[in-house]
């Protein structure tokens, strides 16, 4: 069976230039990423700013070519697909609906753009499909004549979703679709995305830093740190038992609305992740509360087990120990 998205050993570097235009070395925003998403699934990519998750999204949408590696969307490489076909396959929903809609175009034209770009649909038919889609996401006919500046944030994000779905693509890349919205509006948008997925059989790549939202909507989660996926597992497994110390720290920093719990101690060092200066060995070791002598020297391998992936030297230890039968992977499980 073909996967909806297949990413094979993808690298993406950006040349950094000094003000005089001389190359100052490369920043590796995506550093050897491999994963696949089955049709109908929702893969959430979580991580902090600068971890490369937005670059990854652009690579998958074919808006950026990878430096090396291969990306297949619905079994096809986007590098060889023409723009019209690509638009029918995969569509984005961006974070900030204040910058993802052209402020000088009417809602009707914004949502109609993917159809107009196909160039083979009569105008009247285009207009029908635009109105149909707008109605589906809860935007009234009267609002279709407005400019984005005259809509609220939630309404704008609905328009952005309508634009993404008007061509009936199979795959939607949602890049932090709710993090610029208010809580009550965020819930409306998440519900809408979940509904649309069920109805239209969509596959989502859902980029987020909000683990609570991720748990609610995703079927699988990949945790990114400085350009690499350090843990990848089905959502339930990951939330039951996060294995990578970074995942554990991310989970610890989720502030559930429970006044009985105080401010959590994430136990991370103050070293801030800097993509221009990636640490040796395990790239997480300067902040890792569980780092030991080997971590700065040895790059951890991918450990795959029970449909999960984790990239940590401790997991190697645990696995060999588990293989020998004297310990379990649950060894460094988070107390929750």
């Amino acid at each position: 069976m073909t996967h909806a998205i297949e990413v094979r050993n993808v690298y993406r570097e950006f040349q950094q230039r000094s003000s005089l235009g001389r190359a100052r070395g490369a920043v590796c925003a995506v550093d050897g990423v491999t994963f696949s998403v089955a049709a109908g699934d929702v893969l959430a990519v979580v991580g902090e700013s600068g971890c490369g998750k937005s670059t990854l999204a652009r690579l998958i949408m074919g808006l950026l070519p990878p430096s090396s590696g291969e990306i297949l969307v619905d079994g096809r490489s986007l590098v060889c697909v023409d723009r019209r076909e690509r638009a029918r396959l995969i569509q984005p929903v961006f974070q900030d609906p204040f910058s993802s809609l052209n402020p000088r175009q009417r809602v009707r034209d914004i949502v109609g753009l993917p159809l107009a770009s196909q160039g083979d649909l009569p105008k009247a038919r285009q207009s029908d499909r635009v109105m149909e889609m707008l109605a589906r996401v809860g935007i009234s006919t009267e609002m279709a004549e407005r400019l984005p500046g005259q809509l609220s944030g939630g309404q704008r994000q609905r328009v952005a979703i309508a634009r993404a779905l008007v061509l009936h693509p199979r795959i939607v890349v949602c890049d932090e679709p709710t993090s610029a919205l208010d809580v009550s509006v965020q819930a409306q948008i998440i519900n809408l995305l979940a509904e649309l997925r069920r109805e239209l059989g969509l596959t989502y790549l859902f980029i987020s830093h909000n683990l609570a939202v991720v748990e609610h909507i995703a079927t699988e989660v990949a945790v990114m740190y400085l350009g690499r996926i350090v843990e990848h597992a089905p959502t339930q497994d990951l939330f039951r038992q996060p294995m990578h110390p970074y995942t554990q720290a991310l989970f610890a920093s989720v502030l559930t609305p429970d006044p009985a719990l105080g401010v959590p101690d994430v136990a991370l060092g103050d070293a801030y992740p800097d993509p221009t200066n990636i640490p040796s060995g395990c790239r997480f070791h300067p902040r890792c509360p569980k780092a030991f002598s080997e971590c700065p020297a040895t790059e951890p391998d991918n450990i795959r087990k029970d449909g999960r992936l984790v990239e940590c030297l401790l997991a190697v230890d645990n696995q060999t120990r588990a293989d020998r039968g004297d310990g379990s992977v649950a060894h460094f499980q988070l107390d929750r």
Binding site: S49, V183, S184, A187, E215, T256, G262, V263
Partner: protein, 330 residues
């Protein structure tokens, strides 16, 4: 009203802020004791930031402020001249903003900006001020403070900048710290670290902390008292446990239902949501600002709504009785 406390560090009564075409704050009252963390929570446009800025008298042009009183200890902030306010700001009352980059001058080093505050308020030498700055940077967990003092704001990461802003706010030993969304621009792990730091410092120094946020997670973990704001009004206020255990105003309830909680909300089931959008309050608006989005609204809601007592120091502004939906708190 029980909100007026005799020994409060900050006490605001019936604060109103209006702009030419809208009312941003409509009668907000709150009080804050020494060593207390009071969270003001609400969605954007609810007037929470404007309320905070009006305490500092830093409102944007065109805003008109009025109140029964705004008191800092026994000083009446309402009647103070700009000069007197400037003497308090950064000294006894300090403020931290969401985006440190916009409140720092990119042309000066961290050290000179921190020292300047101290020199101005305490009339010390630059040397003493820099020593004090280094001491505080160490206190907010910045390693190698000597080096950091010589750096420029853009050379620091977001987390470091916010630590620096906290250190800067604490330079003159303030009694009241107003933090407006201090962690909203930060990554989750850094947010947790900064909140922990803020909590620790607040405890150690006995600060009164007025924390403005939109995140109920932060409220739950940081606050002792909460004021939930909607459309320029405090719709519910009380001790944090009460608010989360027995939210009474339909808006607070609705909002808490909207938040996905790992392990509690069922994946695949729709989240609770509040239909409609936040209204704009035009001058002359009366009654509950939430009534257009509320499923329980009646004609009564269009009249001036008074504050009701739910017991246990818990107040809310709604026509419904306190036990209207017993035992179904989210």
């Amino acid at each position: 009203m029980a909100l007026v406390m005799p020994n409060a560090v900050l006490s605001i009564a019936n604060l109103r802020v209006s702009f030419p075409r809208m009312e941003a704050v409509r009668g907000v009252s709150l009080a804050l004791n020494r060593g207390e963390v009071h969270c003001v929570v609400g969605e954007s446009g609810c007037g929470k930031s404007i309320s905070a800025l009006s305490v500092m008298n830093l409102l944007p042009r065109g805003a008109v402020r009025s109140a029964d009183h705004i008191r800092f200890h026994e000083h009446d902030l309402l009647g103070m001249s700009e000069r007197q306010m400037a003497r308090l700001r950064g000294d006894k009352i300090a403020m931290i903003f969401q985006e440190p980059m916009t409140s720092l001058n990119p042309a000066y080093t961290v050290g000179s900006q921190m020292a300047e505050v101290f020199e101005r308020h305490r009339r010390t030498t630059r040397r003493q001020a820099l020593d004090r700055a280094a001491e505080l940077l160490a206190r907010v967990g910045i390693t190698a403070p000597g080096m950091r003092l010589a750096q420029y704001p853009h050379q620091l990461s977001g987390g470091l900048r916010q630590r620096m802003m906290i250190a800067m706010a604490l330079m003159c030993d303030p009694e009241l710290l107003i933090a407006d969304e201090p962690t909203t621009a930060l990554d989750v792990t850094v947010q947790a670290q900064i909140l922990r730091l803020l909590h620790k410092l607040q405890q150690e120094m006995g600060l009164a902390l007025l924390l403005i946020t939109h995140d109920f997670g932060i409220v739950a973990r940081m606050a002792q008292r909460v004021s939930v704001m909607y459309a320029g009004e405090v719709v519910e206020s009380g001790p944090v446990e009460q608010i989360f255990k027995a939210p009474t105003h339909p808006y607070t309830r609705g909002l808490l239902d909207c938040i996905p909680v790992p392990g509690v909300t069922k994946a695949g089931e729709p989240l609770g949501s509040i239909p409609g959008v936040v209204p704009r309050i035009a001058p002359g608006f009366l009654g509950c600002g939430f009534r257009d989005r509320c499923t329980l609204a009646t004609a009564e809601c269009a009249e001036t709504m008074r504050l009701r007592d739910a017991g246990a120091d818990h107040f809310y502004r709604c026509r419904l009785p306190p036990n209207w939906k017993q035992g179904t708190a989210p």
